[in-house]
């Protein structure tokens, strides 16, 4: 009970920090513009003539997130360390994991807010046709989980450094690996020289492989579990890194 109150206090502060910074609004606008542009122009939503968001809308999310989520997550710990507020936060009567989870939840909620603001595209597709809204909901959930996974990785890189720029670049690189491991062209290239078990192993670590199922409306427990455990593991690593810094 007490733990939850602490997490909520930290999350509330963090969310407040997002919503008072102009950068957050710039982020939301860029995200929405990208979504709109790729769905209607590049994704040729109208020309497709099908009442579905899978191809034209959700397909792009792993790539948007690749740059946008590290931008949201980069300040989480790097800024605390640079300004020295980490010392303040961690000498309060709360545990480190409460602080880590609180900060993560705030950023994740913020990403959820950005994602929720794409609702006009759902309205559009419902107006034009008769889509399966269950599938759309599952895809949204998958997209949000994927954003959480990226964000948790950004938490790690943010805890590693005082510099937000370094944190950003590192997490983009790591996330790129996680995408490419299951990206069809890469998988095909791997198949050329590696055994199929290896290809499958690598692909099973990919965010894309697990997102694909969710995106198509298949709520597979294994996919959800993949994202949840990736988040949990990353937050755990964040805790280890923070402890490492303090131990000197």
């Amino acid at each position: 009970m007490n733990a939850w109150a602490n997490i909520r206090t930290v999350a509330k502060r963090e969310l407040g920090a997002y919503l008072t910074s102009p950068l957050a609004y710039v982020f939301i606008v860029i995200f929405l513009l990208l979504c709109g542009f790729f769905t209607f122009m590049v994704g040729r939503f109208f020309e497709r003539g099908e009442a579905s968001l899978v191809g034209p809308f959700f397909d792009w999310h792993p790539w948007f997130y690749l740059f946008l989520v590290p931008a949201v997550g980069m300040r989480l710990w790097a800024e605390e360390r640079r300004v020295g507020t980490m010392e303040l936060l961690l000498t309060m009567p709360i545990t480190a994991w409460q602080a880590i989870v609180g900060k993560f939840l705030a950023s994740w909620l913020f990403l959820g807010l950005a994602l929720a603001l794409t609702f006009p595209v759902v309205l559009t597709v419902n107006y034009l046709g008769d889509p399966d809204n269950g599938v759309i909901l599952a895809a949204y959930l998958g997209s949000w989980l994927m954003a959480g996974a990226y964000l948790a990785i950004s938490c790690i890189t943010s805890a590693m450094t005082r510099s937000q720029v370094v944190s950003f670049i590192l997490s983009v690189v790591i996330c790129l690996f996680l995408i490419l491991a299951g990206f069809p062209p890469v998988v095909r290239m791997l198949e050329g020289w590696a055994g199929s078990w290896l290809v499958e192993l690598v692909a099973s670590f990919s965010i894309i492989t697990h997102y694909d199922g969710l995106q198509r409306g298949v709520l597979d427990v294994r996919d959800v579990l993949f994202f949840v455990s990736l988040i949990a593991f990353s937050l755990f690593v964040t805790g280890v890194i923070l402890r490492g810094h303090r131990a000197g």
Partner: protein, 313 residues
């Protein structure tokens, strides 16, 4: 309230803090002195549980900081070095955040925030963002955060750093008043603060405690302690030096001309027995002494002689 036992911290192979032990009871204000890099902040960070010690232990109110960190942290207020604060928040928001983390809710929270705002004179900037505050206000905001739950133990790392003389005076007064009911440790490198606020002082150098005592005890370790300074008219510098130097308890005499007068200081052979003063008074009977006084000793002198490497003395 605070027990520090054999506290040691290694950074790589460097011993930042090396076997430090001391304790602070309720009603005590402990001044933590030392040159830059002596290990003051590292010690304080270990006391507050921010960094784990390499060995040794810290107990606050009976709770081991490593084993029961939450219980120990509840009793403590901490002002870190450089007074960090969330720059994107208002002073009011920041203090509310601190109060909530301290478990204060509703009416109790409101009261606590109001109390520290008054104590630290923050009304005028209450709804300003921390980013726009001057250094003094930012410092006081962070200080306010540390006392928001009226803790039994206060750990303040350079609480007067960056304040103007009036604010310094204010903060010292605050520390002294709060020290009557709490156990306080504060670090500083301003020696006059030891007199202004401390009941006891520890000097730490290269990770080790080199002196521990009340300000008066520390001062008595100065070579100035018990020295007699006098201003004399109608005698030459040489004559004064010669006559005072003959005294049985005088170790050394320095004297200089001062516009027709002589300003002389006699240092005692044995500090603190008051014998020298008596002898000087006897010897100078019949002299035209304009002024004389016995030195109490100088803290800066003690500080320098203890913390400077031998080669630089």
């Amino acid at each position: 309230m605070i027990q520090v036992e054999n506290l040691t911290k290694l950074f790589g192979t460097k011993r930042a803090v090396d076997g430090v032990s001391f304790s602070v009871e309720r009603g005590e204000v402990l001044g933590f002195l030392g040159p830059n890099g002596a290990g003051k902040s590292t010690t304080m960070r270990m006391i507050t549980g921010f960094i784990p010690p390499t060995s040794g232990r810290v107990r606050v109110g009976g709770f081991d900081v490593s084993e029961q960190p939450i219980a120990a942290k509840r009793l403590m207020g901490y002002l870190p070095e450089n007074a960090p604060a969330y720059t994107d928040m208002t002073v009011y928001g920041f203090l509310n955040f601190a109060a909530e983390l301290r478990g204060l809710r509703g009416e109790a929270k409101k009261k606590a925030v109001h109390r520290v705002v008054e104590m630290c004179f923050l009304e005028s900037v209450l709804h300003q963002s921390v980013e726009t505050l001057s250094k003094g206000y930012r410092h006081r905001t962070c200080f306010a955060q540390s006392i928001i739950h009226d803790p039994d133990v206060l750990v303040l790392d350079e609480p007067t750093d960056g304040l103007d003389p009036n604010q310094k005076h204010e903060v010292r007064g605050l520390i002294r008043r709060m020290g009557e009911k709490k156990a306080i440790i504060f670090s500083t490198h301003i020696l006059e603060e030891v007199d202004a606020a401390c009941t006891r002082a520890i000097i730490i150098d290269r990770g080790k405690i080199v002196a521990n005592g009340t300000p008066d005890q520390l001062r008595a370790r100065s070579e100035w302690a018990g020295a007699v300074t006098l201003r004399v008219q109608g005698l030459s510098v040489e004559a004064v030096k010669e006559q005072l130097g003959r005294l049985r308890t005088a170790a050394k005499v320095i004297a200089q001309g001062d516009g027709g007068r002589v300003l002389a200081t006699v240092f005692p052979r044995n500090r603190g027995d008051g014998e020298l003063t008596r002898e000087v008074l006897e010897a100078t009977r019949g002299w035209r002494v304009e002024h004389w006084h016995t030195e109490e000793g100088r803290l800066d002198d003690v500080f320098r002689s203890i913390t400077m490497p031998d080669t630089q003395r």
